[in-house]
């Protein structure tokens, strides 16, 4: 399986994603934001970080960089595109996934482990994951997902919510919401579910010595689903 990770100026989880993808069998290439062409890929990842320093609005400048037109075309033709953290912020700026990401409710950067409940498994990202709840890791300042009531209805009707913040037993309640996201949303799909944006970093959960191993489970499953 071939993957591509895009490096924007200010990306800082690009290497971590490269390490994770390779660990689970992807042949990964790093792609520079100013390139025009995407290499042939089965998966394109927009990594975390602070593209363009998060100036203006998180993800907004990166969404206009040269490579993004190719990424958008790739996504529109059904290609798998995953945006993690800042990558998710870039995805909402391109309009590939609905909604916006506001500053965290308590106005503070937050770095910790969280539990997320998988809401939909009829997609290549979560199909065949046995668990209902995964322990992931978040590290962000602007992860407070928001959308209009109409958008929310559409998202829910289409089952576009990928994961919600919850407790270890999968209970989705306000107290387990780290950033104030509407409906505890931690990640969403586009309508076709080939594009996934999520705040948690599965690439930081690929080793028992790190925060945990549910990221390993996610990547192993992902590469099998793509085969």
């Amino acid at each position: 399986m071939k993957s591509s990770v895009i490096t924007f100026p200010g990306s800082n989880c690009d290497r971590d994603m490269d390490v994770a993808l390779k660990k689970f069998g992807f042949k990964n290439k790093m792609v520079w934001h100013a390139d025009a062409e995407l290499p042939k890929s089965d998966l394109v990842v927009l990594p975390g970080g602070f593209s363009y320093g998060d100036y203006l609005r998180c993800g907004s400048m990166a969404s206009k960089s040269k490579i993004m037109q190719s990424v958008i075309n790739f996504a529109n033709s059904g290609g798998m595109v995953m945006g993690i953290c800042n990558g998710f912020q870039i995805l909402v700026e391109t309009g590939l996934v609905p909604g916006v990401l506001l500053r965290n409710k308590y106005l503070e950067f937050i770095c910790k482990n969280v539990f997320v409940k998988i809401n939909d498994k009829k997609n290549k990202y979560f199909k065949n994951v046995n668990n209902e709840v995964l322990e992931f890791h978040i590290a962000h300042n602007e992860g407070n997902y928001f959308c209009t009531q109409d958008q929310l209805k559409e998202i829910e009707d289409n089952n576009q919510i990928a994961i919600n913040y919850c407790d270890e037993n999968g209970k989705i309640e306000d107290q387990f919401n780290p950033n104030g996201s509407i409906k505890n949303i931690a990640g969403i799909f586009n309508k076709e579910k080939n594009v996934l944006g999520m705040m948690p970093h599965p690439e930081r959960m690929i080793d028992t010595s790190l925060s945990g191993e549910d990221g390993s489970l996610f990547f192993k499953n992902l590469i099998n689903n793509l085969k």
Binding site: N12, G53, L210, S211
Partner: protein, 730 residues
């Protein structure tokens, strides 16, 4: 502007210093030259009050590749890998403007590390605030934490450990010390020594603006009521540009075109160019019209003294300019050839085709003032005796809860959750333990780092305090299973012109030197911050020690959380019952006098090295050093972290229960040992003449003391975790 004595005094120079400048130049300096002298000769850059004493610190060792004198220290961690590290203060700017002050402190120290060719792999910090009741404390704390996070998070470097304390002596002068570790190949370390004639001098990074002019001079004076007027001297950070600068520099460093490189930190273009010239015994000629400026009509004086952030000065090999420029263009950074190296041994500046400065380099560096300031020795205070009636009605659990909730002991999760501590995917011990630990990417090795200070001990007796801080750093590294290698120090003190403050400095440095010499734990880098005072009130002497150690196989790392019910808990090191200057004395007995606990260097070394042997033999399940709050506090924290209880039986000592549980004697650790391993452990401890007590046994979820006093771990956890969150949300 005409330069005279008064202008020199306004620049922070003393009368005799100005006279010396005129004598060295054999003429009156012009205003640009005076500015350069004032920047180079202030305390911050010249170490004029501290140099004499710093010379006494041990700085060499088998593992030391580079000691003090470069941008940062470098140590060998085997297999051609080396760690570059340093700690630095940004106290004054952080008090004036906490967000930017702290942010640029973090930015500055990271630049010092990647200037040497190392990719930063971990950040740490030591931050000290006034009394929680003081009206400024909360906002300063919030601003500093946001600033540290704002910069470090954006750079993508994990913040893995730190220290936060509160004390009213910092009410008018907080401390913000930032430390960075970087990883480099031993054969790819870059230095700041220029070499060769007619080599191009290159400016890269951000443009130069008017921010931070005289920042270094500000850091060399005390605060008064007019402090707010100094806001424009605080630099403004742009972590995004620094991230680009980091990547661009490392890309250029992969080749072989750099002769010397130096970041523009304190005193900006002035100190960077002069340091490179001085180390290379060369001259440097700069055309200031070529310096990329952010604002129009900047004068030579402003260009030379600006402390705009995210800039570097490079001496390149001839003919490599185009190749280097391509890299900086790719990262959208300024790149300008602004001058060349010369044989004149002078710093010569041109502006609009006129020579605006012409100063022999040695007058700025070797001939800078050095003072043997007067200082006063601190006598060892007399011991107090605990009065029986003071503790007669004392409930141990109440005292323990009070200590766990004390601002200097309580959980700092509210702070470190705001720092990205997991980016780079190698953090295997997060903040909240004895030391932070990161793997050396792609290897089995890991590096442990901690930062410590004990202002109260240093205040009570500087010599003992200085020794103690080094020992605590040593213990913290050993507690996670790391072999201590070297330290960096950030020496935060009051005014060197005050005999008492100067005495605190001299004796703390002596203590640091004695301990680091004995423990073979040399000082490889550091920074001195004097004038930490408001009006004539100095802070408590606060040397911060950043220690670094190596774990050969990261799978052998130790954490402090209790692991398994029925395991045994031991205390190693002798408990003599030293209560003076302990947290117990201060918070429960309200007693602030007396000597700090005595430091026995033999025991420190022996106990620590023996514990490392036990760890190497896989006999230790968890470990934690005993510090503030004594045995009971250390054990309670291990219970909280591991969500386990303990049944404690006080050994039959002469001292009473209170003294045993709350004393802050040094050289001690709490260990968790499996029952079947106990005999082996006891044998090794006995063979090495290490004193140990059998303290108790791990249980489900309650802390029992001598079968009569008990409390649930949940209750202790609430005491420990709620103070800071409640304080910040009020």
């Amino acid at each position: 502007m005409i330069v005279n004595e008064q202008v020199a005094i306004d620049h922070g120079l003393k009368k005799d210093e100005y006279a010396k400048i005129c004598e060295l130049l054999k003429r009156t300096p012009n205003i640009t030259e005076l500015g350069i002298f004032s920047a180079m000769w202030n305390e911050h850059c010249s170490y004029k009050s501290s140099r004499l004493h710093l010379k006494k610190l041990p700085t060499k060792g088998k593992k030391v590749i580079q000691g003090p004198g470069e941008n940062a220290g470098v140590i060998d961690i085997e297999d051609n890998d080396a760690i570059v590290f340093k700690i630095e203060s940004h106290n004054h700017p952080s008090f004036i403007e906490p967000y930017q002050g702290a942010a640029t402190g973090v930015g500055g120290i990271m630049r010092d590390v990647f200037t040497m060719g190392a990719r930063p792999i971990a950040n740490l910090n030591s931050i000290h605030f006034g009394s929680p009741q003081h009206k400024k404390t909360k906002n300063l704390l919030r601003g500093v934490v946001h600033g540290i996070g704002g910069y470090g998070n954006c750079m993508g470097v994990p913040t893995i450990a730190g220290q936060t304390s509160f004390d009213s002596s910092y009410n008018g002068n907080i401390l913000v010390n930032a430390m960075t570790l970087g990883l480099v190949k031993k054969n790819k370390i870059f230095y700041s020594k220029a070499a060769g004639l007619d080599k191009p001098v290159i400016y890269v990074g951000s443009k130069t603006g008017r921010d931070g002019i005289h920042g270094a001079s500000m850091a060399s004076t005390s605060f008064d009521e007019k402090i707010e007027e100094k806001k424009p001297t605080v630099q403004v950070g742009d972590p995004f540009t620094e991230k680009l600068l980091l990547e661009a520099c490392l890309e250029l460093m992969a080749g072989d075109s750099i002769i010397a490189i130096q970041d523009m930190g304190a005193a900006g273009l002035t100190s960077s160019s002069i340091e490179m010239a001085s180390k290379g015994n060369l001259g440097i000629e700069i055309n200031l019209n070529k310096v990329p400026c952010r604002e129009s009509k900047m004068t030579p004086y402003e260009i030379m003294l600006s402390e705009s952030q995210e800039r570097m000065l490079i001496v390149l090999e001839n003919g490599k300019e185009e190749q280097a420029k391509k890299i900086f263009d790719k990262w959208n950074l300024d790149f300008a050839v602004i001058g060349k190296t010369t044989k004149t041994k002078k710093i010569e500046l041109y502006f609009n085709e006129e020579k605006v400065a012409d100063i022999p380099v040695n007058t700025l560096v070797e001939n800078s003032p050095m003072y043997d300031r007067k200082w006063k020795k601190t006598k060892l205070p007399k011991k107090n005796k605990i009065k029986k009636e003071d503790i007669k009605h004392l409930k141990i659990i109440d005292a323990l809860k009070k200590i766990l909730a004390n601002p200097n002991v309580c959980s700092k999760e509210w702070i470190w959750q705001q720092y990205d501590h997991t980016v780079m995917g190698d953090t295997i011990q997060k903040p909240g333990g004895d030391a932070g630990v990161v793997r050396v990417h792609g290897t089995d090795k890991a590096v442990a780092a901690s930062v410590d200070s004990s202002a109260v001990y240093c205040w009570a007796h500087p010599l003992t305090g200085g020794k103690q801080v080094v020992c605590e750093s040593f213990r913290n590294l050993i507690s996670v299973g790391a072999k201590p290698i070297a330290i960096t120090n950030c020496l935060n003190f009051g005014s060197p012109e005050n005999e008492e403050n100067m005495g605190e400095f001299v004796e703390c440095v002596q203590g640091i030197g004695e301990a680091s010499d004995y423990l073979k734990f040399p000082v490889v880098s550091g920074n001195v911050s004097f004038y930490n005072q408001t009006k004539d009130q100095g802070i408590k002497p606060t040397p911060a020690i950043g220690g670094v150690g190596l774990i050969k196989d990261y799978k052998n790392m130790i954490t402090m959380d209790f692991k398994e019910v029925d395991n045994l808990v031991l205390v190693i090191g002798k408990t003599e019952g030293h209560i003076d200057q302990s947290l117990f004395a201060r918070t429960i007995l309200d007693e602030k006098n007396g000597p700090p606990p005595e430091v026995n260097l033999f025991n420190e070394k022996n106990n620590g090295e023996t514990l490392l042997k036990l760890i190497d033999n896989n006999l230790i399940r968890s470990a934690h050093d005993v510090s503030l709050g004594g045995i009971i506090t250390a054990v309670a924290k291990m219970c909280i972290k591991g969500k386990k209880g303990i049944n404690i039986k006080k050994p039959k000592y002469l001292i009473n229960e209170i003294e045993y549980l709350f004393a802050e004697d040094q050289g001690r650790y709490i260990l968790e040992v499996g029952k079947k391993d106990f005999k082996k452990v006891a044998d090794i401890l006995n063979k090495n003449a290490v004193h140990f007590d059998e303290l108790g046994i791990i249980t489900e979820n309650e802390l029992y003391i001598n079968d009569k006093t008990k409390v649930t771990i949940d209750e202790l956890s609430v005491s420990n975790k709620s103070w800071l969150i409640n304080y910040m949300s009020k």
